[in-house]
Symmetry: C2
Subunit: 114 residues, 2 copies
DNA sequence: CAGATCTATCGAAGGCTGTCAATATCGAAT
DNA sequence: ATTCGATATTGACAGCCTTCGATAGATCTG
C-alpha cells in the first residue's frame, strides 16, 4: 500500500527546530511525510473545519458539502490526516466523528521555528 | 510551466492560525502550496544546511555532496524553495549563494498554531 | 429480515513530482 | 578569443497523488 506513506503516526515530534542543525536523512524523510499530510488544500480545510466545529468534532457527512468533493475522497483525506497523527476517529452508530489531536499541529509549528 | 506551482512567493503570510476559523478555498490553496515546498526530505535538508552554514549562506557546490543528488536536481529544489519565499539567491562570480529569508519559516509555524 | 443510511475500500484515470543526462548560459582566467 | 568551471534549463521517464464511480461493510429502523 503506497498511499502517501500512510503510517508515520506522530512523526511530528521528530527533531530540533529546522534552523538549529542539519537534518539527518531519516529525520528529513519523517518530517517531510508529516508535512505532506498538510500539503493539500482539502486537508488543510478539513482540519480547520473540524477545529471550528461545535464540540470540536465533525462527522464525515458534515465535511462533504463544505469541501465540495465526493464522500470517498473526503474519507481518503481524513484517513491520511489520521494516520499522520493530526486527527482521531471515533465511531458512534453509523457516524464517524473526527477530532483534532491536541498539540499535533503545534509540534510541527515548533519544528519550523515559530 | 507546471513545476509545483512555482510562484507563490510569500504566501506564507496568508491567514489566521489554522485552528481559529475555517480556511477559505483560496487561502487553503495558497497555504498548501507553501507547505508543498516544505514537504520534501531533500528540501528540508537543504534549508537546515543553509541555516547551519557559516555566514548563513551556502553555494550550490556546498550542497550537492551533503544531499547526495545531482547538481541539476539540487538547483531544482533550491529554485522551488526560493520561489516559495524561503530562500534568497545572490550570485557572486560564477557562484550562487543561497540564504534563509528571516522569519519565513516562522510565519508558517505561526499559521500551524505553534 | 429487509431496507435505508453512513462510511470505508477498491480499481482506474489523469496529472503532477522528483530525478537524471545532456545541454545551454554566464563569468573568470589564461 | 578560448577554455574552464559553476549553475540553470530542457527533455524524458518512472512513480506517486488526487479524484471519482462502484461496491462492500456496518448499524439503525421498521
Amino acid at each position: 500500500m503506497t498511499l502517501l506513506n500512510v503510517t508515520d503516526i506522530s512523526s511530528a515530534a521528530c527533531c530540533a527546530p529546522l534552523e538549529r542543525e542539519p537534518l539527518g536523512a531519516d529525520e528529513a524523510v519523517a518530517l517531510a511525510n508529516t508535512m505532506k499530510a498538510l500539503a493539500d488544500p482539502t486537508r488543510l480545510r478539513l482540519l480547520s473545519i473540524v477545529a471550528a466545529s461545535a464540540d470540536g468534532e465533525a462527522c464525515v457527512c458534515d465535511l462533504i458539502e463544505p469541501v465540495g468533493l465526493s464522500q470517498p475522497t473526503v474519507s481518503h483525506h481524513l484517513k491520511i490526516l489520521t494516520n499522520a497523527g493530526f486527527l482521531t476517529r471515533s465511531k458512534r452508530g453509523t457516524w464517524a466523528y473526527y477530532r483534532l489531536v491536541p498539540g499535533a499541529l503545534g509540534r510541527v509549528g515548533d519544528v519550523l521555528g515559530a
